[in-house]
Amino acid sequence: MINVTIDGVRVEVPKGATILEAAQEAGIRIPTLCYLKKLSPIGSCRMCVVEVEGCTKPVTACDTPAGDGMVVTTDSEELREMRRDVLRLLLVRHPLDCPVCDKGGECDLQDLVYEFGVTAESYRTEPFERDVPRYVSPFIRQWPDRCVLCGRCVRACKEVKGVGCIQIVDNGFYSYIGPVPGVECISCGECLSVCPVGALTDSVHPTKARIWQAERVPTTCGYCGVGCQLELNVLNGEVIRVTTTDFDRAPNFGSLCVKGRFGWEFVNHPDRLEKPLVRKDGELKEATWDEALGLVARKLQEIKDEHGADAVGGLSSARCTNEENYLFQKFMRAVIGTNNVDHCARL
């Protein structure tokens, strides 16, 4: 363990902890933009600059390991001016899109610009045009001018998903996030979920809603037994998006696969069954749950009485949760009384 003093607060942190982590331990917030806990820090946005006693230049808190006895200042007029300049420079090519941007209301850039009271006029470049190729996944729309090039998407794609199909393309001012030749995107949306601004947006559902308009309903993904946690964004009783905003939540820590993140539209489909159907006079008719379950129970009982419990077999689904699958095998064994139970994932 090492001792670090942050703005006069002494904290003890493990060796190897960054200055930012030490500050978090001390309960002191340092503004960040490119940093994200689940990714390796790169120190590229330069928002998190702090002063370290004995160092002639400001250092970035997110990627600099703290040292024993280190004395850190996280706030001064000079540091604030440096942070403001980062924001001013970001605004040089950032469009005034907030009113039409998906991210408005939960955008890190918007929040920081607001916090630091920065306006767009300070610096400027000569106008320029550019063509940027389409994004690597059809489910995601890219808005290159909104991008702050924090590289979170790049790191998430490589470090979390092990894919590495996007990178910074071109140089300097003309850089943008583009494809890595020869590496295919799996459309998992990891990049989308970590983008701090509205540079990557979900292009599945046309309906948009501000954060305060749609309700975010936490639920478990129904596609497989991993049990990923996600949020259904529901507007007027209709699912319009899936998001993951809690990166500390097990088991998936904000990550999803293509199905969980983008494959939910069946929920809104008109053909989807919403009530149980029971065949009456050769035709499937809507019924109540009591009626339907009662019928199934009766039939199962009849089979069991006539042919024995082993005449019944149960096949469960990978699209149920672990808990549901557990209950199902319990039901087959304890209630029906057979070991004939299996799971579609084995087929």
Partner: protein
């Protein structure tokens, strides 16, 4: 600013207007490129210099900013956007459209670059813009006030880094290290392969001049550049990934190469990629030269080298092993046998003696270092007794003692005439040898071999030495202490004090010139040794420089390949602009050991792992174990990415460099 002489280079401001510079000669950096082209002005990581009024600092800064926009990696905000804002402001000024706030913008953003940019490209460029505004504010204000156009100059830009500049092959170290940090190991290897065809080899045994010029050592120890290279090379091997190399078709002229050492292999590697039909003649049964039969297997497993040589052969190169030029193939076969160019890369394969009485008469127990190592490497029998004395202080001497231990000597002593501090051998190697139980006898020198009647070595007479005045190398000269001679008993003596160049394959009348040490004379950077009936004879590597290093051999081979290409395409030899700039950059000394880098010393270099001594001295198994992924990424993350940009304004006539003659 007609004839203002100015320099802010080297931490000192010289200005003819303030009387601190009288003439162009006061500027503390070389005024001409190594090609002879004089410079009018220069802008770089340490400031700017103007030797001649025709160089306009404002336009130089505009072009410099344009360079920064081009080379900025786009990751950090102050540089990605700041460079463009600066460039646009300076462009406006130069075009007579400057605005009153432009100077303040440049000044402020230059400061942001210096203190806030992520890497040293942005940081070091900031200094030049700051110096411009500080020292040429009046000129800037005047240009804006008068809306006057600033005349445009012609410039050359060069990107460098302290480590990159120190590497003879100028590997793009900051890029390959950064790719490791990002987990892009194969991409990193691809970058290395652009300048180095033996990454796994060099990653194990390079003498690593880069690390001795790494800025991170000013903070908390150099980036482990060598072992990182080994890491990515091993990554490809361990996973059996197909190497990313081109498949060229040899549709151009035939070129002959003598010697499949590092220089010869490197030349073949580039020539094959350029489409030449290359044949390599090698006297030994295998590739690698001294890297195969000099460097012992416990430092460099032979199969690593063989595999890397195979990859070069796969580019379409024919290698004829066991073919001694001068015996199996004649000089005339080369220069009259249809080859349009010949590259001589014969190295320095002869061991040298002790120059002490007795060695001529020794029948058993006396071996020259290079011969001993070669025989062991080729599996030939060598004399093995109980005690061995090796004489010398370089890496070859260390290789001999450690090899001696492994072939079965029980007590091995290294005798060196100076002290440990003066030993040219790598400190790491010395430590490894000590750990293996080698005895070191410093400040001793052999004066005579002691033989029995049958010519067997019985011992060696040594004289004690003391250090006197420094010699031309700066090291204190060892002087013998009269009367201090004594005999050290031993069964074998190996001098490891140098290798000599063997030019026996050249006929008397060959127009290739060599100096008294047999070093082949070439036209500087051009590597041209002679032209024989239109066939260009080039040479590089140890046979030109004297015994040097693997990486220098690789670099020489590469440079020769591009010269051969130019010779065959354009029928002339002329150093490539890139090399001229590399040489000039080296003269500017991009690494400053006294620099305060300004970041806290809170990391430490990753440590390589060693096989335990008891195990490793049993045989020739590799003694070191490479980094894990985590170690490699952690070490790569310590890199400060010290790219630097240099802009020079050459005298306009000097532009003939690329087109001259």
């Amino acid at each position: 600013m007609a004839d203002r002489i100015f320099s802010s280079w080297g931490g000192q401001v010289l200005d003819s207007r303030q009387g601190t510079a009288k003439g162009a000669d006061d500027v503390p950096i070389p005024r001409s490129l190594p090609s002879g082209t004089p410079l009018l002005g220069l802008m770089g990581w340490d400031g700017l210099a103007v030797w001649d009024g025709r160089a306009n600092p404002i336009d130089m800064a505009r072009a410099y900013a344009e360079g920064l926009v081009r080379y900025s990696c786009g990751q950090c905000v102050p540089c990605r956007v700041g460079s463009k804002v600066i460039f646009d402001a300076l462009s406006r000024v130069c075009e007579g459209r400057g605005e009153p706030g432009d100077v303040a913008t440049v000044e402020r953003l230059a400061e942001r670059l210096r203190n806030q940019a992520m890497c040293d490209l942005g940081r070091s460029c900031g200094k030049a813009f700051s110096d411009l505004v500080t020292h040429f504010r009046a000129e800037l204000d005047e240009a804006i006030g008068k809306k006057a156009k600033v005349p445009r100059g012609e410039y050359r830009l060069k990107v460098t880094a302290p480590c990159k500049s120190a590497c003879p092959a100028h590997l793009d170290i900051p890029t390959y290290v950064e790719l490791i940090k990002k987990g892009r190991f194969e991409d990193s290897l691809e970058v290395i392969r652009q300048d180095n065809c033996l990454p796994g080899t060099v990653g194990r045994v390079c003498v690593r001049p880069c690390e001795f010029n790494c800025r991170r050592q000013n903070v908390d120890g150099p980036v482990q550049i060598k072992y990182l290279k080994r890491f990515v090379a091993d990554y490809e091997l361990d996973r059996n990934r197909p190497p990313r190399l081109p498949k060229p078709t040899p549709d151009k002229e035939k070129v002959a190469i003598v010697g499949a050492g590092p220089a010869g292999l490197s030349c073949a590697y580039y020539l094959a990629q350029l489409g030449y039909d290359v044949t390599v003649f090698e006297a030994l049964p295998e590739p690698g030269g001294m890297a195969a039969v000099g460097i012992p297997d416990y430092r460099l497993p032979r199969w690593i080298l063989r595999r890397e040589a195979d990859l070069i052969a796969d580019l379409g190169v024919t290698v004829r092993y066991n073919t001694e030029v001068g015996r199996d193939v004649t000089w005339d076969d080369l220069v009259k046998g249809g080859f349009k160019a010949v590259f001589l890369a014969v190295g320095a394969r002869l061991g040298t003696g002790l120059r002490a009485p007795g060695e001529e008469d020794a029948k058993e127990g006396f071996m020259r270092g290079a011969d001993f190592l070669r025989d062991v490497a080729l599996g030939k029998p060598v004399f093995v007794g109980k005690r061995l004395v090796v004489v010398g202080g370089g890496n070859v001497a260390i290789d001999c003692v450690r090899t001696g231990l492994r072939v079965g000597y029980e007590k091995v002593t290294l005798v060196y005439r100076r002290t440990e501090a003066e030993m040219p051998a790598d400190k790491v190697e010395i430590a490894d040898a000590k750990a293996e139980g080698i005895e070191f006898l410093f400040l001793h020198n052999p004066t005579r071999l002691v033989l029995d009647e049958s010519g067997k070595v019985k011992g060696v007479e040594l004289i004690k030495m003391e250090l006197g005045e420094p010699d031309e190398s700066g090291r204190r000269r060892p002087v013998p202490i009269e009367g201090s001679e004594f005999v050290l008993e031993t069964d074998a003596v190996i001098p490891a004090i140098g290798q000599a160049i063997d030019l026996g394959f050249l006929p008397e009348d060959a127009p290739v010139k060599a100096d008294r040490r047999n070093q082949i004379q070439v036209e500087g950077l051009n590597k041209l040794a002679a032209v024989v009936d239109g066939v260009g004879v080039f040479s590089a590597g140890d046979c030109v420089t004297g015994p040097l290093t693997l990486i220098a051999g690789l670099a020489g081979g590469k440079e020769a390949a591009f010269q051969i290409d130019r010779f065959l395409r354009e029928e002339r030899t002329e150093p490539l602009e890139e090399w001229v700039m590399n040489e000039y950059v080296a003269q500017l000394k991009p690494y400053d050991p006294a620099e305060d880098v300004g970041v806290p010393a809170t990391t430490e270099p990753a440590h390589i792992h060693h096989v335990p001594v008891e195990e490793r001295i049993q045989d020739f198994r590799e003694a070191e174990i490479g980094f894990t992924h985590e170690e490699a990424i952690a070490d790569a993350s310590r890199c400060l990415r010290c790219y630097r940009l240099l802009l020079v304004a050459p005298e306009p006539e000097g532009r003939g460099l690329e087109t001259g003659n």
